[in-house]
């Protein structure tokens, strides 16, 4: 009973959601909308658990007198300050929470995002080494794409353009080669991945719906 009831709920729910995706029946559409509303309600309760976990962990870190107690303390003060400011002054344009969001959170997020540029450089430096045949192919393809994406690549293509029976032909056509690499082999391989992933998702979803996959019952 303890296992059968959840399995039955998942089976009925899964099949209903599948049918409503493909078939236009008002009853199924209403059920779908109801499920989405319930999902939002559950998400609110989940937020309570998240807040509890956050406060507990930061308080524990602060009390244990770790190397840097100022970090958990900053987190706790910021958390309660934003909650209280939000309750008393609201979230509208020009409110303290709005000010904190625009002037603290957004620049901090942008700072972390900008780190990506440096990490891409260091990862590329490590990846583009001609150690074997495959990595040499990768290196050559990467160099072509780099050349095709910078103004120098366009200039080289212009300098090496010759005219054969009235038609212009670039000997070192980096932009053209780049276009070909990005639209033919790159897209082909990407589609193969998407193809496998989609089938994997359908397969795993079916396993859950049919009760073969029961990991979530733990």
């Amino acid at each position: 009973m303890k296992i059968m009831v959840p399995l039955l709920i998942v089976f009925i729910g899964g099949m209903l959601m599948t049918f409503q995706y493909y078939i236009d029946i008002p009853l199924l559409n209403n059920i779908y909308k109801g499920v989405l509303d319930w999902h939002m309600v559950i998400a609110v309760f989940a937020l309570v658990i998240a807040v509890k976990s956050l406060i507990e962990r930061q308080w524990k870190n602060f009390r244990q007198k770790t190397e840097h107690p100022v970090y958990p303390l900053t987190t706790l003060i910021s958390f309660f300050a934003v909650v209280l400011l939000g309750i008393f002054f609201g979230l509208k344009q020009g409110s303290p929470v709005n000010f904190i969001y625009n002037n603290f959170l957004v620049p901090l997020q942008a700072t972390i995002f900008s780190l990506l540029a440096f990490y891409i450089s260091s990862a590329a430096y490590r990846a583009f080494r001609a150690k074997n045949f495959s990595s040499t192919v990768l290196l050559i393809a990467a160099m072509i794409v780099v050349m095709g994406r910078i103004p120098l690549g366009d200039l080289i293509a212009t300098w090496t353009t010759i005219s054969i029976s009235g038609k212009d032909f670039a000997i070192l056509d980096f932009p053209g080669w780049t276009r070909w690499i990005l639209t033919v082999p790159n897209v082909g391989i990407k589609r193969a991945f998407i193809f496998g992933i989609t089938l994997g998702i359908v397969s795993t979803s079916l396993k859950v719906i049919l009760g073969i996959e029961r990991g979530w019952l733990k």
Binding site: L47, A50, S53, I194, I197, E213, G215
Partner: protein
Amino acid sequence: MKIGKTASILSLLLISFELKGASSGAGLEGMLYFFAFLILFILFRSPKIPSLKTREIAGIKALEEAIGRSTEMGKPILFISGTKPVPSVSAVAGMNVLGRIAKLAARYGTPIVSPHNNSITMIAATEEIKEGLRSANNEELFRDCSIFYLTDSQFPYAAGINALTSKVRPGAIFYMGTFYAESLILTEHGQNTGAIQIAGTDSVAQIPFFITTCDYLLMGEELFAASAYIQNDEASLRSIFMLDLAKAATIAYILIKIFVVNL
């Protein structure tokens, strides 16, 4: 035989209704595809089909090596779930891998540190780790484990994990699930700490970043196959075989359609 007949009648009944995605091409074809898959799934549960063998997945085989190395170094292991929360299929597959990691960690007595960006995923991970430790008779290890919520936001989550990686200095880091732009920020930093890194993702755009920075990678469908491979029961193994069959059938369908369209 009964299943085949029921499925055929059901399909015919469904076709008689108005199809939602008919104009976008997701209607009839998509629905038939789904039901063909469903029938295959049911048929392949038949006990008449002989047992199947699967090839080893390098990333899964390396889990033990990574946890063993972490144990030798006396360091914890770090498990990072993806940005999509647990109802998503990639997160469910990731949780199955976490179950395997927990079992191995329990055997070696290595604590697990696992920050999350969703409380439902956090609860699922807690249960998965508890179950793994229980099955390896090492429930006491749970007191040394640290499973907690960090934040929902993408880049603060990445910053928090990087800070944690610098502080804890784990011997092994596992990334399982769907990742976006934060993937390289996490893995490049993880690599700088010298940890062995194993990732599994269905995010096509992030695969090159994971390949560059991680020691092993479960690419795309391998994450879902790994989930079945870890469970190691007959039905799960058959689902992998069924997946390959469906792939072959789809390739054949695409080739036939190309031929028919260009005729």
